[in-house]
């Protein structure tokens, strides 16, 4: 969404920045002489201030090269080396990537992460959209509900909430106490059972549906009321209106949320780290990709391998985003085409 809209505005060739500084010229505005003078003045100003934009951009440029592009390049280089911080990096060609092919934990981490993204993101967006639709019907106390549902999004990525989750879904945790209260005895320790541990973290991500919900709400606001009125006059029912008006007009926002949440979910780390105590256990069932990368890089100091893992992550995220964009042609509706 932001990508599509943004460049259109930048490209505007507004050369009028340096318009007349000359006070006397103010009234003679329409004469030829004046426009030529303004032109000259304009050019003068532009040449005189050529460095100004770069002054404003200096911190950003420094950050781009020192903190982002430099390390990115270094990481690409390191991914072809064997490097443990102790000795200088040693060129090893495609070795790291070949090791990856034979690394069962690499596949496990991919599987865990894809499961996590594939289940939690659609669920999260479904809740977000559902609640947004309910709240958008002119309900009283909208801002109260919106805030209440949004709060988990702000707290969800914190260690404190992951800690809480670990207790809640433990053998004697809140969930099992509540289940016992309802008569279900001997429920499993959800975070210590390899079959359910990932599920608890998926639930944590779904719990943070508030942020996409707020975006959906803002999007729903922009759908003109008259569309619904016209449809109603034509005899459209609730579902018809939802399918023919709400969904198509909201599709760019659904798409935006999908891309954003997919990218975010793919990089989740804290929840799995805290819930599993940094191991990715039980039995690697919560070994998120980023957690595995952390273990290799900062547990074993296998920096070459960690860099290779990081580049594969970048490729996957880029590919997923590209697929999303390509697929969006078939279901996202951008108005006038």
């Amino acid at each position: 969404m932001r990508d599509t809209e943004a460049p259109a505005v930048v490209s505007g060739s507004r050369g009028d920045d340096g318009d007349p500084g000359q006070p006397p010229a103010r009234d003679a505005a329409k004469s030829d002489g004046r426009s030529r003078r303004a032109e000259r003045k304009n050019r003068q100003q532009r040449t005189g201030n050529r460095g100004v934009p770069y002054l404003f951009l200096a911190p950003w440029f420094a950050g781009l090269f020192l903190i982002t592009i430099g390390p990115m390049t270094a990481s690409a280089f390191l991914s072809f080396t064997d490097y443990s911080l102790l000795a200088a990096p040693e060129w090893s060609g495609l070795d790291n990537y070949e090791r990856m092919v034979d690394d069962p934990r690499f596949y496990t981490s991919l599987k865990v992460t894809f499961l996590y993204v594939g289940i939690s993101v659609p669920l999260q967006l479904a809740f977000a959209l559902g609640l947004a639709l309910i709240l958008d019907r002119g309900i009283r106390g909208l801002s109260f509900y919106r805030s209440a549902f949004y709060l988990p999004s702000l707290l969800g990525s914190s260690v404190a909430i992951a800690v809480l989750w670990r207790q809640m879904f433990g053998t004697n945790g809140l969930v099992n106490q509540a289940l016992a209260f309802l008569g279900v005895e001997n429920a499993p320790g959800w975070v210590s059972d390899p079959d359910t541990a990932l599920g608890t973290i998926i639930l944590l991500n779904v719990w943070t549906f508030g942020a996409p919900m707020v975006i959906f709400l803002a999007g729903l606001r922009q759908i003109p009321h008259s569309y619904y009125e016209a449809a109603a006059l034509d005899g459209a029912g609730r579902y018809r209106k939802f399918l023919s008006i709400t969904l198509p007009l909201l599709s760019p926002i659904i798409f935006f949320n999908l891309v954003l949440q997919t990218i975010n979910a793919f990089q989740s780390f804290t929840q799995a780290f805290v819930v599993s105590g940094g191991t990715g256990g039980p039995a690697d069932s919560t070994l998120f990709y980023t957690l595995y990368l952390y273990q290799r890089g900062f547990g074993n100091f296998d920096m070459g391998y960690a860099s290779a893992l990081a580049w594969v992550l970048l490729m996957i995220v880029a590919a997923l985003t590209a697929i999303n964009f390509l697929a969006s042609r078939f279901w996202v509706f951008y108005g006038d085409d």
């Binding site: 390390p71 390191l78 309910i134 709060l151 207790q167």
Partner: protein
């Protein structure tokens, strides 16, 4: 939850019983969602054994002891961790405000070479996973002796690497009328004058949004703080909290919950104070 359909303006017609049903549903759902938080708050005032026997909120043995115990249970008093977090967060907020607004002004108002290309790069860097740069950054910062200092966490913000906020402010500044810049130019302002006297005062909502989000995200951030801070004296709140749970197999849940509440309190405070900006912030970056 169903509303009665009438031919005209159906959205305004829902009344009476369906209304009450919708509210009841929403309130039950909301309570269910927030219950874990409320329960954690109440449990932080209960003796640890009771945390594992009482799914309810009330207790006859409410006590503030967990807070006292939790505060001093780790290597350093919790004050130290709060202070570390405050420094990192404070530096990050200042860094993001200054650097991102400067860059945003250039992108929104000035002409320079390859502007479109730089803008595209800036947008692209929003989506760049931190993991791709973290290993070389770690090596770089350890070479210059910055591990276990605040710098690796603050300096990148001073250099506008949180491009998300550059984008947010660009969008905001573009919406401001250019006539104001021109008027300031006539009055003899240079670009820095326009930036400081016109754009910044008018961009307060975007600046508030940036400040609040930077605060919350940096306060919650764990990955980078875990990597760059390994000395217990330098631990920030999340890193310290995590050692609390891992240090022993028998986690002292009462004190852990108490300190978790302490760690969430500032975020909650900002949430209450800045709701307006938060909601508007996500809505505008998503849509505008």
């Amino acid at each position: 939850m169903e509303t009665t359909e009438t031919a005209v303006a159906p959205r305004k017609q829902s009344r009476g019983r369906p209304r009450i049903l919708a509210h009841t549903g929403l309130i039950i759902f909301g309570l269910l969602m927030l219950y874990p938080l409320i329960w954690m708050l109440s449990s932080s005032f209960k003796p640890t054994p009771e945390i594992f026997s009482q799914p309810g909120l009330l207790s006859e043995n409410y006590t503030a002891r967990n807070y006292g115990e939790g505060w001093t249970a780790l290597n350093q008093p919790f004050t130290r961790y709060l202070l570390n977090s405050a420094i990192v967060v404070g530096g990050s907020v200042i860094g993001n405000l200054v650097a991102c607004s400067l860059a945003a002004y250039a992108f929104a108002r000035l002409e320079f070479r390859f502007k479109k290309m730089w803008f595209a790069i800036m947008l692209g860097s929003i989506m760049l996973p931190i993991h791709v740069v973290i290993v070389p950054q770690y090596i770089m910062f350890s070479e210059i002796g910055w591990l276990n200092t605040y710098w690796p966490l603050i300096v990148p913000k001073l250099l506008a690497t949180d491009a998300f906020f550059v984008f947010l402010m660009v969008q905001f500044i573009r919406a401001l009328p250019r006539e104001l810049d021109e008027a300031a130019l006539i009055d003899g302002c240079g670009h820095f004058g326009i930036f400081w006297r016109v754009i910044i005062p008018l961009s307060m909502p975007a600046i508030a949004t940036t400040a609040i989000f930077t605060f919350i995200w940096t306060w919650n951030d764990f990955f980078q703080q875990l990597i760059f801070l390994t000395d217990p004296e330098m631990y920030t709140v999340p890193v310290a909290l995590r050692t609390f749970v891992d240090a022993t197999s028998q986690t002292p849940w009462g004190p852990v919950f108490a300190m978790s509440i302490v760690s969430l309190a500032p975020v909650f405070g900002f949430f209450l104070a800045g709701q307006r900006y938060l909601v508007r912030g996500i809505a505008t970056t998503g849509l505008k």
